[in-house]
């Protein structure tokens, strides 16, 4: 018995066998690469760059938009509004079904289902569920204005030229 115990002790007092180290290394390798693949798969889900208009784009210098301007940029789908020294970029994609809304001095009007918005993009009528979003405007170091459609700001937050 004691002999058997002794033998067992010899076995357990020597836990780091060659076999164990190899098993440990193998599992580390497989586990590690599995984790890395899971990570990379998650990162790959969102594309780094898409073709088509970048979310952040330049719209020219503030001088291109004299005070009182309300102009729709069709390709970029954004309306640039300037009142005095205040400027804003408001989306012209209708929040209802995505038609392009018309820009007028009195506000925005959607031709598809008759949604109406006031000058700041708040819904005044029709089926549109939400007001038109405002996008962040910023002045790039080269003196050009940049619109970032990736960043919505609270309506009424004007950019001062």
């Amino acid at each position: 018995m004691s002999e058997k115990d002794n033998a067992h002790e010899v076995e357990s007092s020597e836990p780091i066998t060659r076999r164990k180290v190899l098993a440990w290394l193998t599992s580390m390798g497989i586990l590690g690469s599995a984790i890395v693949s899971v990570f990379s798969n998650f990162v790959f889900i969102k594309p780094r760059a898409t073709y088509g208009l970048p979310t952040r784009f330049s719209i020219g210098t503030p001088n291109d938009y004299p005070p009182g301007t309300r102009i729709a940029l069709g390709k970029e789908r954004v309306a640039i509004i300037r009142e005095g020294e205040k400027m804003a970029a408001i989306s012209i994609t209708c929040t209802h079904l995505g038609c392009i809304v018309g820009v007028a001095d009195t506000g925005f009007a959607c031709p598809c289902h008759g949604s109406r918005f006031d000058q700041d993009g708040n819904v005044t009528g029709g089926p549109a569920p939400r007001p038109l979003p405002w996008y962040e405007l910023s002045l790039a170091p080269n003196g050009e204005l940049e619109v970032d459609k990736g960043k919505e700001i609270t309506p009424g937050k004007w950019f001062t030229v």
């Binding site: 580390m28 170091p141 003196g143």
Partner: protein, 605 residues
């Protein structure tokens, strides 16, 4: 145990590879650049507005999509060169460095000292001026290596390995890309392109090379898209040393200054086949009315005319300016490609020279001389100068005569491989071919020397040499090259005049015989380029050579067809069953092919 070891090693290896790929895919150089840029920009930002603009910005791929220049361009250059439009970074190191402002490019400085760009990056992108691959996010892909890239970035980066980088330094070669949109011939900001275009005409490049919309030369390669295919360095080299890149090129070395070569190279680099400002629709329209859009070779006559009153002096000036001696020989100047014009005044009449200038192939059908589009006044002046070359050479013995007059084409061994022989068609006669030489009478050979061979480059030396000299040369040729005693020439039974009347029926019968018997060598078009012609030396005669055919007597044609031409591949057709009537019909057919060209030929000799 071995299996476990292998498994462990393999799994660790896989982890390492995975980790490496992960690192490569998700840790980019451009992220480091952008992070560093944002850090620097934040310390530079003074006003709240500037700080606001930077808040929340993180490293991401920046791209400019340009749709207004033909095909859609996606330029991601600003991903690394993120400070390129930030004037605060004008002295920063690459890749943060801001693109310089320059009044030459049309940038304007406002009253507050701030510059405004004429070519806004957000409208134009980068590759439209700088080339390179806009989508590339690594230096290798974006800038391109000019050894194996069609459009490497045209700029300082790729110059490193250029052979001629000392001569093409600076931003001058950027003009080639300005000209992609600014096609105006007088556009102020591309002086080198404009000068190159002028030189292309002035130096007669257009005579051999085609550039769509400018010239229609066929002798050299089409240069319409040369700027797309080759780098600037290669183009430069091809101009200064045509044989450096193409061993078989016979383009002459033109005597151009470094500045002229540079202008030409930059002009050629700007030839990409289309212009960026065109849309696909524009290009489609161009292809629809092709032929109409190509204007005739424009001839700009901007050379100074100090000697306008004296046509001979003016002609001399023109001939020197327009690089005629790049191919021809006049006196001491020898281009080594085309015939000697030193005795032109003795050999040719002014009528012939003037007509030949206007259309070389009307008189020598297989000549490679380009048709230049000079003005009539220029042609007259050049003709006057050439015809004034009347100095009789003092040649004492047959050897001197041969060396000075014959050797250039017929070669120092008399085998027809003279220095310019490859550029002549028909090829100069091989005097070592005894079979041919001894089958012709002395009279016939003397006649060829004295009166030349019409429709070929063989001039009538009888106008330079007297009969004794001609006889001497013939003896010299016979003794030194043919080296066989003249044999008795068999009397052939051939009629002096074609006995078959020239009727449409006879021509039709001749044509059918021609199609059956002759096309293999002389070709379906009778232009001497039949399928067998490539294997035959001397080459089959071009039977559309009106100068030759109309001058050849019936007797000679009869003899050549019926009894063959000894020393050549032309067989005696009498052995293959052609009767005299058949040959008469064939001759009528051949004459009918050249009938309408008689007026021009009247000028030959």
């Amino acid at each position: 145990m071995k299996m476990r070891l292998a498994l462990a090693i393999a799994s660790i290896l896989i982890l390492v590879v995975h980790g490496f790929i992960f690192y490569k895919q998700f840790f980019h150089k451009w992220e480091t650049y952008q992070a560093s840029y944002f850090d620097q920009a934040r310390t530079l930002a003074k006003t709240d507005q500037e700080k606001d603009a930077l808040s929340g910005r993180s490293a991401k791929i920046e791209q400019i999509i340009v749709t207004q220049f033909g095909n859609e361009r996606v330029d991601r250059c600003t991903t690394c060169h993120i400070g390129s439009d930030d004037p605060r970074f004008k002295d920063a190191p690459h890749p943060y460095k801001a693109h310089p402002y320059s009044a030459e490019l049309g940038d304007k400085q406002g009253a507050d000292g701030k510059w405004e760009r004429r070519h806004k990056f957000s409208d134009m992108g980068c590759t439209v001026c700088h080339d390179g691959q806009g989508r590339g996010l690594e230096e290798f892909y974006a800038h391109g290596e000019d050894e194996f890239w069609n459009d490497p970035m045209i700029g300082y980066v790729t110059q490193e390995n250029w052979k001629y980088k000392d001569k093409l330094k600076g931003k001058e070669f950027m003009q080639a890309n300005c000209a992609q949109c600014h096609t105006d011939k007088e556009f102020k900001s591309t002086p080198l392109v404009n000068k190159g275009r002028e030189l292309f005409i002035q130096k007669n490049c257009y005579g051999c090379h085609r550039i769509e919309g400018i010239s229609n030369g066929t002798l050299g390669p089409d240069l319409s898209e040369v700027g797309k295919k080759w780098k600037l360095d290669y183009i430069y080299e091809s101009i200064v040393d045509p044989r450096a890149n193409s061993k078989t090129s016979f383009m002459p070395k033109f005597n151009l200054s470094d500045d002229e070569v540079k202008a030409l190279a930059i002009f050629l680099k700007s030839r990409r086949g289309f212009n960026y400002a065109e849309t696909n629709l524009d290009r489609y329209r161009m292809t629809l009315n092709k032929g109409q859009v190509t204007p005739p070779a424009p001839v700009t006559d901007k050379s100074p005319v100090p000697a306008a009153n004296d046509p001979v002096a003016r002609g001399e000036q023109l001939i020197n300016e327009r690089a005629c001696v790049a191919c021809h020989k006049i006196g001491d100047k020898d281009g080594g490609i085309a015939p000697d014009l030193s005795f032109e005044g003795l050999i040719k009449e002014d009528k012939w020279v003037a007509a030949h200038f206007k259309d070389p192939r009307a008189l020598v059908p297989d000549s490679i001389m380009p048709t230049f589009g000079f003005s009539d006044a220029d042609y007259q002046a050049m003709t006057a100068y050439l015809v004034s070359q009347k100095k009789t050479p003092s040649l004492n013995n047959p050897q001197e005569i041969y060396t000075n007059l014959c050797l250039r084409c017929h070669g120092d061994k008399g085998d027809g491989h003279g220095t310019i022989a490859t550029y002549l068609d028909p090829y100069p006669r091989d005097f070592t071919n005894a079979g041919f030489m001894n089958s012709k009478t002395d009279d016939r050979l003397m006649n060829s020397i004295k009166n030349g061979v019409p429709g070929t480059s063989m001039p009538a030396w009888g106008k330079v040499l007297n009969d004794d000299q001609v006889k001497g040369v013939l003896t010299y040729i016979n003794q030194n090259f043919t080296k066989e005693a003249r044999t008795e020439i068999k009397k052939r039974d051939v009629p002096e005049k074609n006995p078959v009347a020239d009727t449409p029926e006879s021509v039709a019968a001749g044509e059918s015989i021609y199609l059956q018997r002759c096309t293999g060598c002389h070709g379906r078009k009778a232009d001497g380029k039949g399928p067998n012609s490539l294997d035959i030396l001397p080459r089959p005669r071009n039977l559309l050579n009106a100068g030759f055919i109309n001058k050849a007597e019936d007797r000679r044609l009869f003899e050549s067809i019926l009894y063959g031409v000894q020393g050549t591949a032309m067989p005696p057709w009498i052995d293959y069953g052609l009767s005299k009537d058949d040959v008469g019909n064939v001759i009528n057919y051949l004459r009918s092919l050249n009938k309408n060209k008689k007026d021009l030929v009247a000028m030959c000799h």
